[in-house]
């Protein structure tokens, strides 16, 4: 009895995992490219990403642009290197140090990344729409030493806002 072709299909076939040469693995193209950039803190070009991920240059550039917009990576033109180089915007300290919380229409993802001097907290603002899903609006990085200070400063500004409101209410009465 011959082998049923269904028997020959493996989990690796379903996922399109590599058996020779680089192709996107179980992580998906976006995650794969992000991990390639993270593994190269000295910077990579789109061409290097394209050949390392086994995808076209246009495709690699499009995903890198997306990652730039999400501030997962940053890029710059280095004198002497003709192409733009892409750098990781920090590596997660631990997978559990990344979480999202929804506040009405705003979603904030807070994550802790390795930094040059101290770990850095990234706060990413996301918006959710039914037809487009979650989209990154922007993000900031704060050195961990400055987190408490920034929180106190934010509270200070909010107190000023309350004072202004109170003054305005008194003026109206």
């Amino acid at each position: 009895m011959g082998v049923d072709p269904l028997d020959e299909i493996s989990v690796a076939d379903i996922l399109g995992e590599k058996d020779s040469g680089p192709q996107p693995d179980a992580r998906g193209v976006r995650s794969l490219i992000l991990s390639i950039v993270r593994q190269n803190p000295d910077g990579v070009t789109a061409q290097m990403v394209s050949s390392s991920a086994g995808i076209s240059l246009t495709w690699a550039k499009q995903v890198l642009d997306d990652l730039l917009h999400q501030r997962e990576v940053y890029s710059r033109v280095v004198p002497g290197v003709r192409a733009r180089l892409y750098y990781p915007n920090g590596k997660l300290v631990h997978k559990f140090l990344q979480d999202s919380k929804e506040f009405g229409d705003q979603i904030f993802r807070v994550s802790v990344h390795e930094g040059r001097r101290t770990p850095r907290v990234q706060i990413q603002e996301r918006k959710f729409s039914l037809l487009e899903g979650e989209k990154v609006e922007g993000s900031i990085f704060i050195d961990i030493d400055n987190v408490e200070g920034l929180l106190s400063f934010t509270k200070e500004v909010l107190e000023r806002l309350n004072q202004i409101k109170t003054t305005q209410e008194l003026e109206h009465t």
């Binding site: 269904l6 399109g16 992580r27 998906g28 976006r30 995650s31 037809l131």
Partner: protein, 458 residues
């Protein structure tokens, strides 16, 4: 097989035989109550829940058909602005925040491949792929979609589609199956789904090896989900997905194919990669005509629920409608029902017959234990106590506009009443289990109109 630490757990409050009441803890703050849940297939169904969220019980989950989700979300978006100002209405994002969503992919679409259904699926696939982890360009997404549609239409009721789908594209080296996995995950994230059942091949008796193909697709899904979690990306909990064709269930005969399914499910749950089992059985209307085949289904569900319970995992039976009460008796944690209470295939294709009264749909009368057609409801309006029994959460008679328009009747009367009736039955079922009754669902169903009564105690 890879292994992982499970994220969810079943908490049993009270047990009577195989039946139990309690919750399925899917994260620290969310527990899904054991019982019945509504199944959203169409834009109309979404309208019903957004207009009348009070029909749902606290924390009650909702099951969505992933294939129709893109269209359903377009409707939800259009309704969102109106719902904010409408008394009693709810916005989609608020709905899914308080009612955990499961996204599943009914097996009939890929098995039967009705052209209408394949076209609609393609619309969603084309738009979702560029946002998936594969980050396809719009033109690539168009090509992939065309390829999927052509292969589905060319190979109905066979495994050729899946064989072709797992072949690597000569240029990109990525198989269609990979895009389909990413599509399902992206669709789930659009609906903010907390739970996912995958798009996997249906198990068919004529191809015994289909059991293994389904198993491998499940492993592939679990692998991708586990990788997402490892990378700190939010991902729904994944259920071992078992879509089954009716031929697998022979009258009173233990089937070898089902034994393999049970063994695979056991191994899958032990790996920790799966948080439970999702099962969909096609052809329930024909199975219901044979007491022996009903016995086979019940035996299978009982054995599967034992596998789930031994691993503190959930067993979710998709779309058995009122027959789901019998499933709860044998240990299912959740069973879902469509808003029109149909239990046949989701994507049947074709159009409604000429009789306009059929377009009004049926309403479940949980007290007389039968389904009321539109004409029967009209007759009841002349009775001393007109309409359906009062259940507390919805109207018992339609208004004048609803009696004239099938769409208004369905959205504002029959579908809301069906949800209320199923929830009422489930609440009765729970109170009987709390009193120690082992088969309250089957006891109720034995006096239901035929052929549903085949699912009752005999």
């Amino acid at each position: 097989m890879r292994s992982a630490v499970r994220r969810t757990v079943i908490v049993v409050e009270r047990e009577a035989g195989s039946a139990f009441v309690g919750g399925w803890q899917i994260d620290q703050a969310t527990s899904v109550p054991v019982g019945v849940v509504p199944y959203v297939k169409s834009r109309e169904d979404v309208s019903v829940v957004l207009r009348s969220p009070e029909l749902l019980l606290q924390g009650q989950p909702i099951e969505f058909s992933g294939y129709s989700l893109y269209r359903a979300l377009r409707t939800a978006e259009a309704l969102d602005s109106r719902m904010a100002d409408r008394p009693g209405g709810i916005r989609f994002s608020d709905l899914v925040a308080s009612h955990p969503v499961l996204v599943s992919f009914p097996p009939d679409l890929t098995w039967l491949a009705h052209p209408d259904a394949v076209t609609k699926f393609g619309e969603g696939l084309k738009r979702v792929l560029p946002d998936s982890e594969m980050k396809s360009t719009p033109s690539d997404a168009e090509k992939i979609t065309r390829n999927v549609q052509e292969q589905l239409l060319a190979h109905p009721q066979s495994y050729s589609f899946w064989k072709i789908a797992t072949r690597k594209d000569p240029e990109t080296h990525i198989p269609l199956s990979r895009y389909l996995i990413e599509y399902t995950l992206t669709v789930a994230s659009r609906a903010k789904a907390r739970i996912l059942a995958g798009m996997v091949p249906v198990i068919d008796v004529r191809t015994p090896n289909s059991v293994w193909l389904t198993h491998k697709f499940n492993l592939a899904f679990a692998d991708v989900v586990a990788d997402r979690v490892d990378e700190g990306i939010r991902a729904p909990v994944y259920l071992y997905t078992l879509p089954i064709n009716p031929g697998v269930f022979e009258a009173d005969t233990p089937s070898e194919i089902l034994s393999v399914v049970e063994r695979n499910a056991q191994a899958a749950l032990r790996s920790g990669l799966f948080e439970g089992i999702w099962v969909a059985i096609r052809g329930l209307p024909s199975i219901s005509l044979s007491p022996g085949r009903v016995n086979s289904v019940m035996g299978f569900l009982r054995r599967l629920s034992e596998v789930a319970k031994a691993n503190s995992a959930a067993l979710w039976w998709s779309r058995p409608g009122v027959m789901g009460l019998a499933g709860l008796d044998v240990g299912c944690a959740v069973t879902s029902f469509s808003f029109n209470l149909r239990v046949d295939d989701v994507y049947l294709g074709g159009r409604m017959g000429r009789d306009r009264s059929h377009s009004f749909g049926k309403v479940l009368n949980p007290v007389s234990r039968d389904y009321w057609e539109y004409r029967q409801l009209l007759r009841s309006l002349e009775a001393p106590e007109p309409g359906l029994p009062a259940l507390g959460t919805c109207r018992t008679v339609p208004d004048v506009l609803e009696l004239q328009s099938p769409q208004h009747y369905r959205i504002q009367f029959s579908k809301p009443y069906n949800v209320a009736a199923m929830n009422w039955l489930c609440s009765e079922w729970k109170s009987h289990v709390r009193q120690g009754e082992t088969s309250p669902g089957r006891e109720y169903l034995q006096t239901f109109s035929a052929p549903t009564n085949q699912w009752g105690l005999r």
